[in-house]
Amino acid sequence: MNTILPILPEVVLLVLGVAILSLDPFLKEEHRRPVLGWTTAAGLLLTFVASLLFARPGEPVLVYGGMLRFDWLGFAFQLFFLIAAAISALFFMDVDHLNRRAETYLLLLAATLGMCLMASAADLIMVYLAIEMTSIPLFLLAGFLKDDEKSTESGFKYMLFGALTSTVMLYGFSLVYGFTGTTSLYELNLHFSSFDLLTIGVVFLVLAGLAFKVSLFPFHFWAPDVYEGAPTPVAGFLSTASKAAGFAVILRLFLAAFSLQEISANLGLILAVLATLTMTVGNLIALTQKNIKRLLAYSSIAHAGYAMIGVVTFSQLGAASTVFYLLAYILTNLAAFGIVAAAGKVTGSDDLDSYRGLSRRNSTLALAMLVAFLSLAGMPPFGGFVAKVFVFAAAVENGYVWLAVVGVLNSIVGLYYYLTVLKYVYLYRMPGEDEDKHPLPVTRPYILGLVLLVVGIIVVGVIFAPWFSLADGAALALF
């Protein structure tokens, strides 16, 4: 197939980026924020609609010399990224120093483009390039507030960690090529047929880079510091779309290259242990956090563990449940960070204490927060509940009852700290109890973004069948 259909979203994103950049010099200062922001968001939405209408894949097919695979897995993830990016663009519009610069929107688009490629990359070289294409703009975005020490530190830390792990991963790739003579993901499983030391070594090296992207234990250390320092909407984008992109590669790599029974059974066990540690470490440390961004960072580590449960099973239901989980998680966590950004803009702080009396200051924002946090905790009728049930169901189906139990116990720990946050919002009062004098207004882009997300969370949680079919179609493309 020699059309541009398989890379339609990427092409449109590129055009959009160029348009933003060339628009920039002609804009007056006061027009920059609205024009750049709305154009980016609308452009991303348009890309979403365009690929939904025109770029639907058929039978899975390798394109462009085997570099990409045009299938439902890549397609589903690309849709997720586009939505996440569009909403992040809305959230960017109210961050000072970020909202008037064409560069920020361009970097967002570039990272999204990289993610789209990650989702469909079918060759190790392409995987590496796509990951770097995603990471480098994100390093810059995380450290974008040059005058803010924390942001600079965040960007720098992110870059150091990213560079280190991606080198290790690249080393792993070179070993794979050395041993097998191929870089195509879909030829690798011919060469990895037994679970020997070589396979373990290669898997661990490769996993280092991917585990960093999705913040899997023991490569999670960067997340809290980076999220805390980065501009909040950037942290939201990092914790959702970027993480989902990592999972897209993990799903494709493991289910394509290591799917033989002898390997997957053993590898599954190793990954199950990693998932357990990730969930547990993330949740337990989150319990003690007093800064909401750090709390969400640890919670997002824990969520990587839950999503990993589906991968562990190496089954179609497992893969589908991971994709579904990521969908619910993207909507939910993006909403959580959006609320934090909106509230932080007024209160000027990310301490839990600054959330005291929020429900009296802006009851609608408090309701949105309730929805987001209960969805994170896995309560119906929100997306997080069904997503969790599906990954646990996949675990039980494939004989990992213990992993489901671990997940269940972890979600109890999770519930505790999510409820603690809601306690600040609904129960505690501001010192002086004069919330009436401290209204918390929310700007229009945030209202739009949050309404979309809250509706999305509820729709995914109540009418889950269509989304699960999408996830299942994506999973089917792996087998």
Binding site: S359, S363, L370, M379, V408, L422, Y426, L427, F464
Partner: protein, 491 residues
Amino acid sequence: MHFPILSVIVFTPITASLLIFLYKPEQKKAVRITALAAAAFALTLSTIVYALYRRDVGGYQFLEEYRWMPFLGISLKFGVDGMSAPLVLLTGVVMLTGVMISWGVDDRPREFFGFLFILASGVFGVFASLDLFMLFFFYEIAVFPMYLLISIWGWIKTREYAAMKLTLYLFIGSVIALVGALAMYWQSGMHTFDMLQLEHANFSPGFQRLWFPFVFLGFAVLGGLFPFHNWSPDGHVAAPTAVSMFHAGVLMKLGAFAALRVGIMLLPEGARDWHWWVMGLALVNIVYGAFIASVQTDFKYVIGFSSVSHMGLVMMGFATLTREGLLGAGVQMFSHGIMTALFFAAVGMVYDRAHTRDIPKLGGMVKPLPVVAVGMIIGSLVSMGMPGFSGFVAEFPIFLGIWKTQWLVAVIAAISIVVTASYVLLVVRRVFFGTMPAELEGHIRPTGRLDTIALVLLCALMVGLGLVPSLMVPWVQTGVQHVLTLLGGAG
């Protein structure tokens, strides 16, 4: 195709809740009127369901099924049997009386009624669901608003602690049961969550023995079974009045009902293996709960522990696995629900006026609050199982069932009746009769019209059911028949 009455009942409260959230926070009056209208509507429909349930036919009626997720065999399937029809009615009654009694909530009433109605939808959903997945879905919906309702509007001294404790206990129980349910789903090999089909899954005895404790106890946490009852008195006491009513009146039945429906009815063989254990635990509930209640000095804790004791009777009735025991337990769920709702309403009214619940500091309330006093007396008579009141209709068969299974247990459990009689009468005497402490004199305003209506409605149900047991017993009997078939069918 008939009118989808059950789904209308289930979704009425949550729709009302959405509507309420559309109001502005200042529109308190509109919020209350909407809440009252929705509650009245739901009660009307529940009464219709109850009245139209055909006892001569039995089984599940008013069936509705919507394919929700065919891929995993999840459907939105509603239906009631003789066991659940009274509970749907109970929920309607408690919902309406709860709204009436909470008329005076002035701190963010929009949020209060909004959350309360989400909870109500969850409760209706569990009672009406015939799909295991949806049952969990609604079960969790019924649990989480509790946290907010207690922690925001509860008694300031213990609300944070009690709300968190309650939520964690219930959540732990339900997720453990969820793992059991998933195990059942895959083990059955039928790829359906439809409980009517899972009833015939014929799980192997080993499987049933392994999973029954998880599933049954997971739900029994909400039913207040010892040693997992600890959350409940604290929760009852900390909760605002309407929430205590909901909580003790309906939510605990939710736990017991789900333990029956999922634990005993889907894993009958497991129930037979474990029923002595459950009886033992329930016996502790009954006797220990009654003794603890008798030494409390806080009016609300007395009622809270009496609920633990009475719910023990429900669990005990289930555990006997006999016709009499199950029948009594079915009626007890309704009777205790109404009774305890009345108790908490009464406690709330006294507390709102006297600003204390310390029994020694109260007295002589009969003069300013005659209706409340009469309600409390009727409730006490129900609570000790006096003939002529609904408590007798419920407890007598339970004791028959226990006797049939093991007479010694019946004798020990009967101690509780004596203890119950002594403490409820004592409390009523101290709070409502005697002399009113000087500092309360003149501060007790009379009850409002809505309060009175609510109390009268609750009392009428208890007396009516006590005098005419056939208003409920035939319903429950058809439900029991089905449970017995399942229990017999497996053996």
